[in-house]
């Protein structure tokens, strides 16, 4: 088992013929992901990377029946692309693009929830189930199939957690980058639920950062619902207040959202804390014994 994506995932790439989408689709295909085609309005009917290109998601849905979509279109068009995929009934939508306006996400999230679909991102590295499917921009070769489920608000920080668990031979069941924006399509809680129900996942790594209260909400959820060990690292312990640290959502505002508060809350809910990022793998190993 694993969560969200596996060898039965049939992936549609939105913004397929763009340079980023092309590079990452090539990598996904090389990894063994079943890419069934892509969408670029106006280029329908052609082939790209030997896969069919469609003018719309609905057309692709009818002809190649994708059950997941990954979005590489520029930020001004993401609202349209996400809602187009949602309207066509794509169950899992992953938006890689950074810079989507927050008010667009308020509408998108409302609609996704109403339709009962799943959105990961925006501003995220995507989702990978090692050895089965790679839907994102992460380097495939650092992953190893195993027992640790990873959820993270950051890209390269996730890779650190992945590499450490790989080097220790623990491996990962699935890794999910939920993204660094203030309004993510899926929260820590959404993904914690899935890992709790997944037999293969023995421990969960939660990589958080300053800003908002997603980690605190996750902590409450863990205390009441998650029976598997959760290990957490929170980035930004030295970040100044009031400054946006790269990610749109990584800002300490009005004294709220500090790393210290998050760590204290997670600890009080039974979460194991890795004091620094180099200790994530070792902490998991110690907890799993």
């Amino acid at each position: 088992m694993s969560i969200l994506v596996n060898k039965d995932t049939r992936l549609l790439v939105q913004g397929f013929t763009g340079s980023q989408a092309t590079m990452h689709s090539e990598q996904a295909i090389a990894y063994g992901t079943n890419v069934v085609g892509g969408v670029t309005p106006g280029k329908g009917g052609s082939l790209h990377l030997d896969k069919p290109v469609f003018n719309s998601v609905l057309e692709a849905k009818e002809l190649v029946n994708p059950n997941a979509a990954i979005i590489f279109v520029p930020a001004p068009f993401c609202k349209d692309s996400i809602l187009e995929a949602a309207e066509a009934g794509i169950e899992l939508i992953i938006c890689i693009t950074e810079g989507v306006p927050t008010l667009d996400m308020l509408i998108v999230k409302e609609k996704i929830d109403a339709l009962g679909l799943k959105l990961i991102g925006p501003n995220c590295p995507g989702v990978i189930t090692p050895g089965e499917a790679k839907l994102g921009i992460m380097p495939g070769d650092i992953h190893l199939r195993g027992s640790v489920g990873i959820i993270s608000r950051s890209g390269t920080l996730t890779y650190e957690a992945v590499k450490q668990t790989t080097d220790l031979g623990l491996g990962q069941s699935t890794c999910v980058g939920i993204g660094g924006d203030p309004i993510p399509g899926s929260s820590f809680i959404d993904i914690l639920k899935l890992f709790q129900e997944d037999d293969e996942t023995k421990a969960i790594v939660l990589v958080g950062e300053i800003g908002g209260s997603a980690e605190e909400e996750a902590a409450d959820f863990i205390a009441s619902y998650v029976t598997k060990p959760v290990i957490s690292y929170i980035a930004g312990q030295t970040a100044p207040a009031g400054k946006r640290m790269g990610h749109a959502g990584a800002i300490i505002a009005g004294g709220k959202g500090t790393a210290a508060d998050k760590i204290a809350k997670l600890k009080s809910c039974g979460v194991h804390i890795a004091d620094n990022l180099l200790e994530i793998g070792n902490t998991v190993k110690a907890v799993l014994g």
Partner: protein, 386 residues
């Protein structure tokens, strides 16, 4: 992106929200004419900076003659205003807002933010205005109301009535507020705001509601569709190094330490700062060089980091994902060649092709150390910075 009070009030006026008669001036010799245009015999002069706490710092004054207004402008324009919200250097006063004087009966508080938990625009209102709202939230939470706006329905009259009750408005004021609330929401949505704060919203002596201040932040992600607001940007209020970095599409925040950091990815950049601190050092900056870390980006990043005279050593921490570390290593060397780096550089490469990347760094003619382990790299940087 932040706006000045005078710019915020221009937006308020556009959305039929009650603001004072005013003029903004950029040089002291405009002061007298501005006063006569506004009329009356009392004015309030307000220094324009991107920070709160101006009143207590002497940046707001009631004046009784145009000459006094001119003297205030002469005293403040171009100077640094230090408030409890700024750093020790303060913010440059780039303009003066001159307003007709408002007779205040009561000060209230109103703001709107995007609440990340409920994923809605939430209005926060309190009968305690003109003070720090966080203090009110702590000491008398019953005086604050939070009202979420449903994206489907927009603000509803019963919500305006609920807020009015907490604000203690009479029936006339309540009616006025019911007309104002949808305009606030329209302004918030149409201009892609992330924060709208009026502290204080006042009841005037004549009984009417009035917006006496305006603090507005705009969602930076939405600037592509707000060309008019982009024109309102005031570079004098921003850190010059942060601006320079933004030009190159790099995320940079300056800090107080002496270890320059160049990292790919925002989360890892924060994690690197934390690691430096963990080993007893102090980071000079946050810098996310981006996922691709090309020669051009690395060169620009070096220029920005080295423009900070405090920097004694630079720690480069790159997790090579899709881009191979050997290519990144070549990029780093070429960038150092181009920029002429005169402080020690520690490079930690991890991930895709890290070993050959490290070999390239070690074989170079520059005094760069390559350490594969972040712990060793951070320790070494801390050592060199002492």
């Amino acid at each position: 992106m932040n706006l000045h009070e005078y710019q915020g009030k221009q937006l308020f006026a556009e959305y039929h929200l009650p603001v004072s008669n005013s003029q903004v001036i950029f040089s002291a010799d405009e002061a007298k004419e501005a006063c006569s245009k506004i009329g009356g015999c009392k004015w309030v002069v307000k220094a324009q900076v991107h920070a709160g706490g101006r009143g207590k710092a002497g940046g707001v004054k009631l004046v009784n003659s145009p000459e006094e207004a001119e003297a205030f402008a002469l005293n403040w324009l171009g100077k640094q205003l230090v408030t409890y919200q700024t750093d020790a250097n303060g913010q440059k006063v780039s303009a003066i807002l001159i307003e007709s004087c408002t007779d205040i009966a009561k000060e209230l508080y109103l703001s709107a933010v995007i609440d990340r938990s409920s994923r809605k625009i939430v209005f926060i209102a309190s009968s305690e205005g003109g003070v720090n709202i966080e203090d009110v939230a702590k000491n008398s939470p019953e005086k604050i109301i939070y009202e979420s706006i449903d994206p489907l329905t927009g603000p509803l009259p019963f919500q305006a009535r609920r807020i009015s009750k907490v604000l203690g408005l009479n029936s006339l004021q309540s009616k006025q507020f019911n007309q104002m609330l949808p305009n606030f929401v329209r302004l918030f949505q149409e201009k892609d705001l992330s924060l709208l704060e009026i502290n204080p919203l006042v009841i005037k002596e004549d009984g009417n509601l009035h917006c006496l201040d305006a603090k507005i932040n705009i969602d930076s992600n939405a600037l592509f569709r707000q060309p008019k607001l982009v024109e309102m940007r005031d570079p004098s209020q921003e850190d010059p190094k942060e601006q320079e970095a933004a030009k190159f599409d790099l995320s940079y925040v300056s800090l107080d330490g002496n270890i320059g950091c160049m990292v790919n990815g925002a989360g890892l950049a924060m994690g690197t700062m934390d690691t430096i601190k963990f080993f007893g050092g102090d980071p000079a900056n946050f810098l996310d060089v981006g996922g691709t870390a090309t020669q051009e980006r690395v060169a620009n990043a070096f220029k920005i980091i080295l423009a900070d005279p405090k920097v004694k050593v630079v720690l480069v921490n790159i997790f090579g994902g899709i881009v191979r570390c050997d290519l990144i290593a070549k990029g780093i060397l070429a960038a150092i060649d181009e920029v002429g780096v005169n402080v020690p550089v520690i490079v930690r490469l991890e991930g895709n092709n890290a070993e050959s990347g490290s070999a390239i760094i070690e074989e170079s003619n520059y005094a760069i150390e390559s350490l594969n382990n972040l712990q060793e790299a951070a320790k070494r940087a801390v050592e060199l910075a002492q």
